[in-house]
């Protein structure tokens, strides 16, 4: 790109000599800012295809309804790959098709993000496992539910596949005590080590152990990284490990785990769980700020319509894990699933072809 001719240059020239020191420099910077920006001006016209496209069409064909202005919105990014996949697909559609300005902010799940939404720094959670933890914020009118996202979460306790192959009855929770000895580590105080899920995730391990009188001790792993590490090693070295895991998680496509089955579930709110039964299947929820939901922006429509399957999510997540950038992986999926995407766009007046 070449230097743009500066018609206003004269008006912007200031008498600030560098010797005047930093105040002078600050003046120059401010003066330059007032001049309007070369690179930025170019960006303005190039970066908003949605604003341009309808204008171009009105000249040739019958006037189409112009897109309502989408606006600036923030999507909370939680740190598991599956979440990244869902959020990135929504972000790409919003940016490239609806012409929204989207900021993606990495935040811890649950409380942290609800607070951020109340503060207005992000607007959307695309996958929340919380089962109603957000009620307090809903009551205050800060956030609202935006429907299910189509993914179904299933939490459980798992062992590496080789253990189930060697002892098929281990998959029944009633037999866990029989194998407790195998799971003893220096960390677990003479009991079997029960590696619990990361801090933000729904966990009721302590209750399950107490209710089922299991001879195990909860070890709080503190991060998903720790669990993935644990199972990777246990599978590779054929060592025992009992730990928390969940689907949809594309890690399960790489390392085979075997689920321990507890009696069928009887709860939805972890606070009311007896501990006797298994984790429930959790339809995952989308949340949005009331500001977004009431804005009438096409982005609100997109977020409310968005829904896909566990297999869809795994596909994008796997591409991300194998080295593709989230944006590339999302775009690849969008290109291959235009019908689904157009379903989400229903009511916005926009579509992909």
């Amino acid at each position: 790109m070449d230097i743009h001719p500066l018609s206003t240059r004269g008006a912007c020239r200031r008498n600030a000599r560098p010797l005047a020191g930093l105040p002078g420099l600050a003046l120059i910077v401010l003066a330059l800012a007032a001049c309007g920006g070369g690179v930025n001006e170019a960006a303005d016209t190039a970066a908003s295809p949605a604003a341009e496209a309808p204008a171009a069409e009105t000249e040739t064909a019958a006037p189409e309804p112009t897109l309502p202005d989408c606006g600036d919105w923030g999507i909370a990014m939680h740190a598991w790959v599956g979440y990244t996949a869902s959020a990135q697909v929504v972000a790409e559609v919003a940016k490239n098709v609806l012409g929204c300005t989207i900021t993606q902010t990495t935040l811890d799940e649950a409380g942290t993000t609800y607070d951020a939404m109340e503060a207005g720094s992000v607007d959307v959670i695309i996958e929340d496992w919380g089962g109603g933890r957000w009620q307090e914020w809903v009551d205050r009118g800060a956030i609202g539910e935006a429907g299910l996202n189509g993914n179904v979460g299933l939490i459980g306790m798992y062992v590496p596949q080789w253990m189930c192959d060697a002892n098929p009855d281990i998959a029944d929770s009633a037999n866990l005590n029989k194998y407790a000895e195998q799971f003893i580590t220096p960390e677990s105080g003479g009991k079997g080590a029960w590696y619990e899920g990361p801090p933000g995730y729904t966990t009721i391990g302590e209750k399950m152990i107490a209710a089922n009188k299991l001879n195990y001790k909860v070890i709080n792993t503190g991060s998903e990284a720790a669990l993935i590490d644990l199972f990777t090693k246990a599978a590779k070295n054929e060592t025992p490990a009992l730990g928390y895991f969940y689907e949809p998680q594309n890690f399960l496509a790489k390392v085979q785990l075997c689920r321990i089955n507890f009696p069928a579930n009887d709860w939805t709110d972890a606070a009311e769980a007896s501990g006797l039964t298994d984790y429930p299947e959790t339809p995952l929820v989308k949340l949005a700020t009331t500001t977004l939901l009431e804005s009438g922006s096409p982005f609100a429509t997109l977020v409310q319509n968005f829904s896909w399957t566990n297999a869809d999510q795994n596909q994008v997540a796997l591409d991300i894990e194998s080295g593709m950038s989230p944006a590339e992986a999302a775009q690849k999926w969008i290109d291959a699933n235009k019908d689904t995407v157009n379903g989400w766009l229903a009511g916005t007046g926009a579509s992909v072809e």
Partner: protein
């Protein structure tokens, strides 16, 4: 003065008698703890509230509910938040964050780089400016440009606000004993307050985001600024002051014409320390929404992308070196200017004009030329570096995993479990009594009293068992830190060559955010308490090495010469002369080691260490456990005060800010 041999003798007997008592007590403790194992341990499941944590949880809900309605928020907290946010965002808008719809901020990368170089040149010299430019280019080449500038903007903003509060308070505290006495408890507390503990309460009031992160950073760096500034004013020689007073200066004249100019050097050093402290904190503050380099570092932990985390970590270190050198050079420059000849001054003036013009050209170019506005992609080698780093770490973890697992299990079974057994699996009253008695013996009656009171308070708030689990790890990590610190510290103190070789490692160790090495440590040691201990050692060892080396270097040369001529061997000189003579530094090192280790126990919660650290973390993400998280933070603080009281007693002098944070010195 007594001869070194005499002093040593007295010290040994004094210490000897105490040691016998301590060992006896520990044996009794161990026997009792074994006999009463598992009784009244007050252990509590993570999900269970106590009366106190339930109270705190309700309080958090009330605070959250009031944020939009209560006058305290509408007229006090919210305006503060908005003001700080606006201030930081205006800095970011200049260098790091493009306005909506724009491609670049006010300036492209070349302009920003030129402005920073010019500022460094104007406040110091050309060589430092070139070095700083090179370091920033390093961040750029690593693909971390925007993150780096976000961190820089946050740091500079927080430093500006910290100085605005800290400098006047520091000067005031330097002039008035009464002010100093009023501030001291706060300053002392701030030094032992683990940084991660006040993130949650701040986020509760000021919400997740830039404002909370900035205020948290200020809480961390202001005490350092106050301490050094007050010290600068207080340590001025009396004679010029008396002369000025005798000549009839008013107090104001005395301050502005004599005291401040004379203290200028130390005050700038204080700015240096404030800046580095702020930088280190801004990285951690990513946990409550601070933009910048902390983000990829924290993300790396969660998605196990070791490479990216290391690249971001390197950028943090480069930025820290840059800020350190720039501010240090400014100190030197204040002296150099006085010695300059007229010719040199003219040369410098011409240089500044040329640099100023070049900067303007760079700013203009960065707004109109694409390559100078947006960092060209082919310059970015961050991905390659990340991949290489990732491969190296993977290789290490897969090939050394065997040895590390063995070490981990050995230490856990032979040391950690027994220690935890005595502390956490015995009746709480036994542990409270024993720690308090030991505290009284080691640290004097006050320390014993403090221990009784605060430990009982921990029992009352209901987090006793978790606190003891944490204490076991802290004690073990501190022992390791002291061993490493003394060995390396003595080596560095005795030889400038070793010192020079260690310096970059120590610098990096002190600036590298702990999150960077969590993932490799996790891969090596698994989710264990030992992993958390290793993190604590990494974090705390550099400062202990520095303090010990400083102490050994401070031993008068005559003492060493005397011992050498008396035919002492090298080992004898170290163990009989240099170590005893630097006893104060050793005690200070132990104190600092303890406090630093305690500061990372929260991080240990991320790697399966359990205890208070895990509760702090879980309290931040699960609203129903928010009360427990806050209470755990309080328990860490109480534990910190007890440990500090005990360890402080030996090295009587209070650690200054310099001891706490001294890369580059």
């Amino acid at each position: 003065m007594t001869s070194p041999a005499d002093g040593r003798q007295r010290w040994l007997t004094l210490l000897g008698r105490r040691w016998v008592l301590i060992v006896l007590l520990v044996v009794v403790w161990w026997v009792l703890a074994t006999l009463l194992r598992g009784i009244h341990t007050l252990s509590l499941s993570t999900a269970t509230d106590t009366w106190f944590t339930a109270l705190l949880r309700e309080l958090t809900a009330v605070i959250r509910g009031n944020r939009t309605e209560s006058p305290v928020f509408i007229y006090l907290f919210n305006p503060i938040r908005v003001g700080i946010e606006g201030f930081i965002d205006s800095i970011r808008a200049v260098i790091s964050v493009p306005a909506p719809g724009n491609l670049i901020p006010l300036m492209g990368w070349l302009g920003t780089l030129a402005v920073i170089a010019l500022i460094v040149y104007a406040t110091s010299n050309l060589r430092t400016a070139a070095l700083c430019t090179a370091l920033l280019l390093g961040c750029l080449v690593l693909g971390m440009w925007t993150y780096t500038l976000d961190t820089l903007a946050m740091t500079l903003g927080a430093v500006a606000l910290s100085l605005a509060i800290g400098l006047p308070l520091g000067v005031w505290a330097g002039l008035s004993d009464r002010v100093m006495a009023a501030l001291r408890p706060g300053l002392d507390l701030a030094q032992i307050l683990p940084t991660l503990v006040y993130l949650a309460p701040l986020a509760l009031v000021f919400l997740i985001g830039v404002a909370s992160a900035t205020i948290a950073t200020m809480v961390y760096s202001i005490p350092i600024c106050i301490r050094i500034t007050a010290h600068a004013i207080r340590s001025l020689r009396a004679s010029p002051l008396e002369a000025a007073t005798a000549m009839g200066s008013t107090r104001w004249q005395l301050l502005t014409k004599v005291q401040l100019p004379m203290a200028r050097r130390t005050i700038i050093l204080g700015i240096n320390q404030t800046t580095l402290a702020a930088l280190s904190f801004v990285v951690i503050a990513a946990l409550i929404g601070a933009p910048g380099l902390g983000k990829p570092v924290v993300e790396a932990l969660i998605i196990r992308d070791v490479g990216d985390g290391i690249v971001a970590g390197i950028a943090v270190v480069l930025l820290a070196i840059m800020l350190d050198r720039a501010t240090t050079a400014a100190v030197v420059h204040t002296d150099e200017v006085l010695d300059m000849t007229e010719h040199q001054r003219r040369l410098r003036r011409i240089g500044l004009v040329v640099a100023g013009l070049a900067t303007i050209a760079a700013i203009i170019a960065s707004r109109y030329l694409m390559w100078a506005a947006v960092v060209p992609e082919r310059l970015d080698i961050g991905e390659q570096v990340g991949r290489i780093a990732g491969t190296v770490v993977t290789w290490i973890t897969t090939n050394l995993g065997f040895a590390t697992t063995g070490l981990n299990e050995f230490i856990t079974v032979t040391v950690l479990n027994p220690v935890e057994g005595i502390l956490a699996n015995a009746p709480w009253y036994l542990t409270v009594i024993m720690i308090s008695v030991l505290a009284a013996i080691i640290g004097g009656r006050t320390a014993g009293l403090v221990a009784v009171c605060l430990l009982t308070a921990i029992v009352v708030i209901g987090l006793w068992n978790d606190t003891m689990i944490t204490l076991a790890q802290v004690l073990l990590a501190t022992v390791v830190v002291m061993v490493v610190g003394v060995v390396l510290g003595v080596l560095a103190g005795r030889s400038t060559r070793v010192e020079r070789a260690l310096k970059p490692l120590l610098d990096a160790g002190q600036t590298l955010p702990a999150f960077v090495y969590l993932v490799p440590v996790l891969a090596l040691f698994g989710p264990t308490r030992f992993a958390s201990i290793v993190c604590g050692v990494f974090y705390a060892a550099p400062v202990v090495v520095r303090v010990v080396a400083d102490g050994v270097r401070g031993v008068p040369a005559e003492m060493v010469e005397a011992a050498t001529s008396a035919g002492s061997t090298r080992t004898q000189i170290i163990t009989k002369v240099q170590l005893p003579a630097s006893r104060r530094s050793l005690m200070l090192g132990a104190n600092q080691g303890l406090i630093f280790v305690l500061a990372v126990v929260v991080i240990g919660g991320f790697v399966g260490a359990g205890g208070l650290g895990y509760l702090v973390i879980v309290g931040q993400s699960k609203p129903e456990l928010a009360g427990k998280g806050l209470a755990a933070g309080l328990a860490i603080v109480l534990l910190g005060i007890v440990l500090d009281r005990i360890a402080q007693s030996g090295g009587r002098s209070r650690p200054t800010g310099q001891d706490r944070w001294a890369p580059g010195h």
